[in-house]
Amino acid sequence: MLSSYLTMAAILFCIGLYGALVKRNAVIILLSIELMLNAVNLNLVAFSKYGVVPSLTGQMFTLFSIAVAAAEAAVGIAILIALFRARGTVNADEYDEMRR
């Protein structure tokens, strides 16, 4: 049972990674990051149920993680909106301030 959950999580993670690295739209990148985060959450839950030492800690950890992710998404979206206002674009290619 465990391996199918893990495979599922890995597939999710890879889709998220692909999106984060390839997509140009910053909103899509943010969504992809959420996808990767949730792949991890899935792993945690799977281990808490089918792991070598099953325990509730994993599920509680996931709840924390979801809460933090929600906050993070809010902050991320806020930054994105501010960036969009400042630069007039959501295109990640054009965000190259780090170079200067």
Partner: protein, 622 residues
């Protein structure tokens, strides 16, 4: 031994040093400060030196030495200190008196120079170094001051550094004397190595070498003596390192008088005299000193005959007279060498200052462009005449007595050197009469000449008096100096009538011949140059010594320098540039990676992780 003044002798060099420091700090823009301080400090030194000398004169055994621990490493202690012997006392008076008179003279001569206070500060520094050299009680301290006077000489020869000749002459003087200094340094090291307890002070050096006790092997002794002599050769302008001295005449004339006639160039003679015990322990070294000195005497005297620059004639004359001194030392006559040093300091300083007065008046140094100055510059003419007669060895002027003593020693020890000395004396008299008659007699060639100011003529008069009387401290009938200087150890060269007659006759003959050629015209001036032009050219070109050095040493060294420069430019710098270039290249690549695209960074990180994982996993199947 209680001494009243000798224990304060260390103050003597400190007077000019204080003047130097004050001029360095406050001299800028203070034109009179240099003159005042220079004259005052050297006068204070002169007074104290005379007191020291009187003390030593009245009490022949007066002696004072003081040394403090300077460096201490391992079991070796190096001392620094000062020592006042009879030899030191007389040198002190020579240096301070000439230095004082030159300071006074320079007040007039350098009046219009804009760097006058710099000039006086250099002169003060030189006086300090020279007096330190004289007072030094060991070889190492002496060597330090020895180098310091070299630096001062360099600074003062190149004083008018806007003239390219002066710059070249300063460099030449420094480099050529440096060859000698290297010899001296090696000599000191050898001495240090072989002396018991590594002692370098003159007292113990004297004790070890005196009477050839065999503490140090004969071969080593010879080497030490020869190496020290090489140092003296460089400083005192002996053949073959004499080439710098005539060129050093590019410096201001008072400097030529002070450094390049009376004091610094005599330092080589003084050094040999100071370490005389080492030389006496090795007959080979003594012979080398004697023959080098004798050869230099005749060699430079013949060159002097064909020169046309008033200062260069005097410079070659200095080289030749220094040769005499060396010859005397090499013939085991300490008194003769120091006596000639003593008289020469006065009459040669007189001649140079007189020449400076002439140059000041006519603004040229070529003797053929001068003439008839006798009626316009009476004081200069008379004092110059006295100097010329003293140099030519005409009795009763001082040069006669000292030269006579050297010639007499030569006749007793090595008759061959006696012949050379007499020949050199003849040439000396001839070129001095040529110089004198061309400059002061004949038709005037310009009417703007005038007598120099009193600040310049008074030193001339004082030096003229000294040039007349200085010889009487040691005559064939009066052995004061010899007994006093060597503590009676040196056998008195009584002086036969024959030598005196010969040397006086030769001097007079030289003068007479000069008179015949340049005044009376009985012998045509081109009598020699029309018959043997090659001979005149050979002398005029100074035996092609400069050309020889240029070809044998300077060019190959330049070539080597050029080659090394190329290696430095292309090989060494190439490696450095390659290293630098690689770093820059890496940097460029790094900048390209630094695109600011967060997604690229992420991709690279991912690739890195994949490679890492692949490596870790792959190890299992290795």
């Amino acid at each position: 031994m209680d001494t009243t003044f000798s224990q304060w002798a260390w103050l003597i060099p400190l007077f000019p040093f204080a003047a130097f420091l004050m001029l360095l700090a406050f001299g800028r823009g203070q034109r009179m400060l240099g003159v005042t301080l220079g004259a005052a400090s050297s006068f204070a030194g002169l007074v104290l030196s005379i007191l020291v000398l009187i003390e030593h004169m009245t009490d022949g055994t007066a002696y004072y030495q003081y040394a403090f621990k300077w460096l201490h490493f391992g079991s070796v202690t190096l001392n620094a200190g000062f020592e006042v012997t009879n030899l030191t006392a007389i040198m002190l008076v020579v240096v301070t008196s000439v230095s004082f008179l030159v300071n006074v003279y320079s007040a007039g001569y350098m009046k219009d120079d804009e760097r006058i206070s710099v000039f006086f500060s250099y002169v003060a520094l030189f006086s300090f170094s020279m007096l330190g050299l004289v007072l030094a009680d060991n070889m190492l301290t002496l060597y330090i001051f020895w180098e310091l006077v070299g630096v001062c000489s360099f600074l003062l020869v190149g004083f008018w550094y806007s003239k390219p000749e002066a710059k070249a002459a300063a460099k030449k003087a420094f480099i050529v004397t440096r060859i000698g200094d290297a010899g001296l340094l090696l000599g000191i090291l050898l001495l240090y190595w072989y002396m018991p307890d590594h002692a370098l002070d003159f007292v113990r050096i004297g004790n070890v070498f005196e009477g050839n006790t065999g503490v140090i092997a004969a071969g080593v002794t010879t080497w030490i003596a020869v190496l020290i002599f090489i140092g003296a050769v460089g400083k005192s302008g002996q053949f073959p390192l004499h080439v710098w001295l005539p060129d050093a005449m590019e410096g201001p004339t008072p400097i030529s008088a002070l450094i390049h006639a009376a004091t610094m160039v005599a330092a080589g003679v003084y050094l040999v005299a100071r370490t005389f015990d080492i030389f006496q322990a090795s007959q080979t070294a003594m012979d080398i000193v004697a023959y080098v000195g004798g050869f230099t005497a005749i060699f430079a005297a013949t060159i002097g005959v064909a020169q046309n620059d008033i200062k260069r004639i005097l410079a070659y004359s200095t080289v030749s007279q220094l040769g005499y001194m060396m010859m005397a030392l090499g013939l085991n006559s300490l008194t003769g060498g120091i006596f000639h040093l003593f008289t020469h300091a006065f009459f040669k300083a007189l001649l140079f200052l007189g020449a400076g007065s002439v140059i000041h008046a006519v603004h040229t140094q070529n003797i053929h462009e001068m003439g008839g100055l006798g009626s316009k510059m009476r004081i200069t003419t008379w004092t110059f005449a006295i100097g010329a007669l003293a140099l030519s060895g005409i009795p009763p002027f001082s040069g006669f007595w000292s030269k006579d003593m050297i010639l007499h020693t030569a006749l007793q020890e090595k008759p061959f050197l006696f012949v050379i000395g007499v020949a050199a004396a003849f040439f000396t008299a001839f070129y001095m009469s040529r110089l004198f008659f061309l400059v002061f007699m004949g038709k005037p060639k310009g009417d703007h000449a005038h007598e120099s100011p009193s600040s310049m003529t008074i030193p001339l008069v004082v030096l003229a008096v000294l040039a007349v009387v200085a010889g009487f401290i040691q005559t064939p009938w009066n052995d004061t100096l010899g007994t006093w200087l060597t503590d009676g150890a040196e056998k008195a060269h009584g002086g036969g009538g024959l030598v005196m007659v010969i040397s006086a006759a030769v001097g007079l003959l030289g003068l007479y011949l000069g008179w015949l050629v340049f005044v009376k015209g009985t012998i045509a001036r081109d009598a020699v140059s029309s018959r043997a032009p090659w001979l005149v050219r050979l002398l005029e070109r100074k035996y092609y010594m400069d050309e020889l050095y240029e070809m044998l040493l300077v060019r190959p060294l330049r070539g080597l320098g050029l080659l090394l420069n190329l290696i430095d430019d292309y090989v060494v710098d190439g490696i450095v540039r390659a290293v630098g270039g690689t770093a820059v290249l890496f940097g460029r690549g790094g900048t390209r990676l630094q695109s600011g695209q967060i997604q690229t960074y992420g991709l690279v990180t991912l690739l890195g992780i994949v490679i890492l994982i692949a490596a870790i996993v792959g190890r299992r199947f290795w």
